[in-house]
């Protein structure tokens, strides 16, 4: 009975790790960087501009 239990939770952990491998981590919700989270303006796209950014 308990072997079934261990099999079930192994399957569960396995699926989690599979999803992890498949999706990757784009945003780390717990990552905090001093400058990183303060961008909130619509910047000029791609290579243009810096200080002329304006928010909408």
């Amino acid at each position: 009975m308990k072997i079934i239990y261990l099999l079930i939770i192994t399957f569960f952990f396995g699926t989690l790790i599979l999803d992890h491998d498949n999706k990757g981590v784009m945003y780390n919700p717990l990552f905090h960087d001093e400058g990183g989270n303060t961008i909130n303006s619509i910047a000029m796209p791609c290579g243009l501009g810096g200080s002329e950014n304006h928010s909408h």
């Binding site: 498949n22 999706k23 990757g24 981590v25 784009m26 945003y27 780390n28 990552f31 960087d33 990183g36 989270n37 961008i39 909130n40 303006s41 619509i42 910047a43 000029m44 796209p45 791609c46 290579g47 243009l48 810096g50 002329e52 304006h54 909408h56």
Partner: protein, 303 residues
């Protein structure tokens, strides 16, 4: 409602549905637009990139066109700290309905016509429409400048808008997710990354301020966006684009993902490859290097 009215509505519906099923071209020229002005919705997106704005639109624009500023109206949004991203269908429904575009409209995107980055605005909006399931969209090649050059009539004044209720239907055919980009390794699974930025960004010499690290995603090839347009901001011909693509020596792969810093330049390259050269399976990764570098554990290559 009497029988005649019902019949008229039925005929009108059949007529418009026939119009709807006609295939639309990715590009139109000024002459075509002038001839079909009454049957399309002209969306003028002039903004700071081309030196334009709503004020400039008010002075001079294509008759019956409606203005929406590409940079400020909400076509791209800051999503979780990453700028310039696809804002989501709810937000787009609101935006598009507020300028009066209906699901049945054939939208013509008119940019300034100044340079390649300016074309990128039109390409990005074109891509946005396709991603929300609106297939009937075209770009006026050469933008407003082309219209003026051809000498057609223009108008002035404010936006004349009848709000509509536009409904998006998400279509991820041209939308590459982070996990797709992460897994793209052309030699192994045939998914080829195409970096659309000028070479200096590709090698890491230059960096966009919002990206954490300079460089590119591993295994990407470089197709600089400015090479896909002529000096006058018009996209090059199908043959010219195809030649550029062949020169990259990546024909044998099965899928391509165009990226840049925030999905603007990448839209130009995406349009050039997918819509102009009609290469199949080309997608856009709109978060770009800014999105890729949010998590410092994502590898960035330079040199």
């Amino acid at each position: 409602m009497n029988l005649i009215k019902k019949f008229a509505i039925l005929i009108a519906f059949l007529f418009t549905s026939q119009l709807a099923s006609a295939k639309t071209n990715a590009l139109v020229d000024a002459e075509w637009l002038n001839n079909n002005l009454d049957d399309v919705f002209v969306l003028d997106i002039r903004n700071k990139i081309d030196g334009g704005s709503y004020e400039i639109f008010k002075e001079d624009h294509i008759p019956n066109s409606v203005h929406s500023d590409y940079l400020t109206a909400g076509w791209r949004k800051n999503v979780n700290g990453v700028i310039g991203q696809f804002p989501g269908i709810k937000s787009l429904d609101q935006l598009i309905s507020s300028i009066g575009i209906k699901n049945t409209d054939h939208v013509i995107v008119v940019y300034g016509g100044v340079n390649s980055t300016d074309f990128g605005s039109a390409a990005r909006i074109y891509w946005t429409f396709k991603t929300i399931g609106h297939e009937k969209v075209s770009i006026l090649n050469g933008g407003f400048k082309e219209w003026k050059k051809a000498g057609y009539q223009t108008a002035s004044g404010e936006n004349q808008i009848t709000p509509s209720s536009f409904k998006s239907k998400l279509n991820k055919k041209y939308f590459a997710s982070f996990s797709e980009v992460k897994k793209a390794e052309k030699e192994r699974n045939g998914l080829c990354l195409i970096d659309a930025r000028p070479a200096a960004f590709f090698t890491g010499e230059k960096k966009k301020p919002e990206a954490r690290t300079a460089g590119r995603i591993k295994n990407a090839v470089n197709l600089e966006q400015q090479k896909t347009t002529s000096d006058n901001g018009k996209i090059k011909s199908k043959n010219e684009i195809k030649k550029m693509f062949t020169a990259l020596q990546v024909d044998e792969y099965k899928g391509y993902i165009s990226y840049c810093n925030t999905g603007h330049w990448a839209a130009t390259v995406w349009f050039a490859l997918s819509e102009q050269a009609e290469i199949p399976n080309v997608k856009l990764y709109d978060a770009g290097m800014v999105g890729w570098t949010v998590n410092p554990k994502n590898e960035v290559v330079s040199g």
